[in-house]
Assembly symmetry: C4
Homo-oligomer: 293 residues x 4
């Protein structure tokens, strides 16, 4: 009797539907990514560099990814990025039917994360801007939430920048989880991914801040549109907004193709005795978490 | 005979009482946290930024947590924070009867740590302040020991800031120790917690320095009250002092609830054969150290 | 039938020739090293220090090595440096016949990486230099790609600097992979190598930027020669260009000899029962990956 | 026959005497510590902060310790510090007869490391000082090699500073290697020790640079005395030189006692069945490497 009662709470709340469960995890993970990642941009921008700087944002954003993957990784894989989910679907590691659910959860989580950054830093924002939220100029604050290009950046270079940086991201993620390669010890992948983000934000953030993630960029941009920054968040930089949305998706395909052609296709074939379960070998890495559920 | 004599020292000092043993560990851990964490603030403030900066304090405080957890973790769990102990009690991972002992040890250790920072930096303090210890103004030194809000911060936003940052801390700790999630390899949890502190102090330190720990904030504040900074340490910032005491406790509850609702409740149920020992499964992570004793 | 068809793509592309496979991996690894490592220099130089600095370049270059070793390590060993390949040949861990293939792949990858840095940062380069690419002076940009000596540096000191820094690099790599020593846990070697690069670029970058890698320095230098910086890239610094090419090769020999004489020769001899396979014991560490293929 | 010949090189050089072997390892380890640790100070000082800063020195010195422990750890334990050797002797983890050999090797290695820093940075030193090597003043360079106190520091506070910082160092090392506590996974201890050094140099470097190691401070000081800085290296700071020599030895005892009293004495006693080999249990952690030899 007591045991049954003790179990009832768990039974009541536990979602039977795996997809909903995974959506919740992606939502929470992407919320963490934006609330703390963009939070580190806010800390640097609103302290005028006294409490942060380029390296601190790089480390802060990277560790927000690490935390998000530790929180969501065991449930949904911790993609927290439509480009990553796209790469997983492309390689058959995730079913396409899940893709829209993941993307919706990621965008919704990112929107809530932006709202959290806004709320936590509301007093500082009002103090520094006197309530005038601007997208460009010396007192601009919109780049706390979404990325904007340097004035000299052409759309073409900017698009290539987003494709290439995301391709490196995806390439790195495949290497980190590839147990036929060196591989990262189980349970340390989120830290290796964090180091990968430190690398990319140290090397490829000059042009436009290295978004590499449609949900990370678009959802907070929509939030700023609604919260008082106005339509300029979409028109600025020759309508820049679509570049960090489309570029990363193309980059995901490029990164996947590069890793497959240069590394994974050349791994030794699966031994004969395992041929009855073809593909298991190479699909294992990223789906083993799912199977445990 | 010789063996008996050789054992006598150990037998004499070894405390039979687990709770006293755990209290000693928490005291030493929190002492380390403040002596070295606030020490890194002292190094930056008293060198006028020549020997430190925002990132160095972030890393220094984080690594003081890492060291404290390595030192105390195997004995008491290494909470070194009443908010963490509160979350452990809330989830049944620690008995409520231990809670006051832990909190007392944490506050006492933090007080001693503040005294150590004061002693080690006494010459520098006297040189820079000429013996006039102030809480506000350009020559202020009280923020070496306890946190103070930005001038523009409202108590409401400040309280929410403490609730939210501590909720992220607790959420991260649950994820790090959740063996049903990705989990951090055994023996590396203190480093993962350190990275979590780097993240939070990079992202949420703008408003009031990201205390997230009643013992870390209140005990050194009491020390400064006694050591010559006077009653202003309590009155400054519209009597700010209670916010980093109460906020983190609320945040602990919020963080616990969030992790339970979004992640832990949806883990696959314990197999039937283990139902005779209900809850063991989910209580294991943070108590396995205790059981070894 | 279906299985055969499903396997065809893999079979078609999978290279039977191990050496070609390893060359592809070295090419991709060294491409990553330069595209992202020199990319971090570009970000700092072209943002005039706003988006980077000495520590960020140190961390960026180090993590580009870490990523490159994770990507190529399981296939080719992830040398991405002719000096490392040379040390492996010297100690019998790699066959000499592979050496020219590795070096060619490394140089080709580095050249492509330099082209990628040029392309990604083309708009920024044109904006800051107005199309005048210079090797020296306040607006110099050639040091984004290759290393140049301080004005006061003699060729002799510069050569010794390259020998010594590369010797430390090789010494560190031997220690990291020496399972008879402390050894780094499997799968974490790339991170330990990254930390080693952080160390060396923090300690030995004053004189000439700490190249320690002929491919990393010469191939991007050739690229800048072709891309508009002109012959000065070879004549600058009293024809400095050959120092980071020859110095590291000498350093590889010095580092190998030092580790052998001080540490490895004194390891306990292989037990009698293993004497039928002499040298296996000490060759294992760096070749075990190869054997898996 | 061939096997014998192939073995001859190894047999000729391999030292039968363990102590000599350990001395060589300590010499090489401490050489690395100074050559690269003090090298990072040189890079910052001689670039006038352009290629380094407080955090970079902190990270550089820490990673030089990490590398030194990876290189020497499997042979000699990687003490590279007489205070650490002292603590090992105090707790019976090393025989006293080895102590003078370790200390001599450490001092000799540190002296050679200082010579290496001098040689590598000779051109930069001459350029910046015009050959006038000074201990104090704006153009001082002696602090590249040894530590000097702040002008306001009393000898008493300085001595306490060295005792306390070294006590924390020793405490941390005991925690890192204590397998009855959380413990660091095998092979990662050098990285944990590196993080400990980052912590201590972030928190306790204000007064006098946080030497914590008699060999690290005295041997390079003797080198500067001989190399042209003159007797002021000993007379500066009210004859400061002996403080970072004696203080760390006292600190080693204090740190050892603290860890024993607060943590180790309270570990559960060794089970009866192991009582025939008393003390093995607690001596294991730091000597297991030695036993393998």
């Amino acid at each position: 009797m007591t045991k049954k009662a003790g179990k009832s709470l768990r039974e009541k709340f536990a979602l039977k539907n795996n997809l909903l469960k995974e959506g919740l995890a992606e939502l929470l993970g992407t919320f963490i990514l934006i609330a703390l990642g963009c939070g580190s941009v806010a800390q640097t921008v609103l302290s005028r560099g006294a409490l942060g700087g380029a390296l601190m944002i790089s480390v802060g954003f990277a560790m927000s990814v690490t935390l998000a993957v530790y929180v969501a990784g065991g449930v949904s894989g911790g993609h927290i990025n439509p480009a990553v989910s796209f790469a997983m679907c492309l390689t058959g590691k995730m079913k396409w039917v899940k893709f829209p659910v993941y993307v919706f959860a990621q965008c919704f989580g990112a929107f809530l994360g932006a709202a959290m950054v806004f709320g936590i830093n509301y007093d500082a924002l009002m103090f520094h801007t006197h309530g005038v939220f601007t997208v460009t100029g010396p007192n601009a604050t919109a780049h706390i939430f979404a990325t904007y290009p340097q004035e000299y950046l052409s759309l073409t270079t900017g698009f290539v920048d987003q494709v290439v940086s995301t391709a490196f991201l995806i390439l790195g993620i495949f290497a980190i989880f590839d147990t036929d390669n060196l591989g990262v010890p189980k349970g340390l992948e989120p830290i290796a991914i964090g180091l990968l983000i430190i690398l990319l934000t140290s090397s490829m953030a000059l042009n436009s801040g290295c978004a590499m993630n449609p949900a990370r960029d678009l959802a907070p941009r929509v939030f700023t549109y609604l919260a008082g920054w106005g339509a300029e968040v979409f028109t600025a930089g020759s309508h820049w907004w679509w570049v960090p949305v489309v570029g990363p998706m193309v980059g995901a395909a490029v990164g996947t193709a590069t890793y497959m052609l240069f590394i994974e296709l050349h791994h030794a074939p699966v031994p004969l005795c395992q041929k009855n379960a073809p593909d298991t070998h190479h699909e294992y890495e990223l789906t083993h978490l799912e199977e445990r559920k």
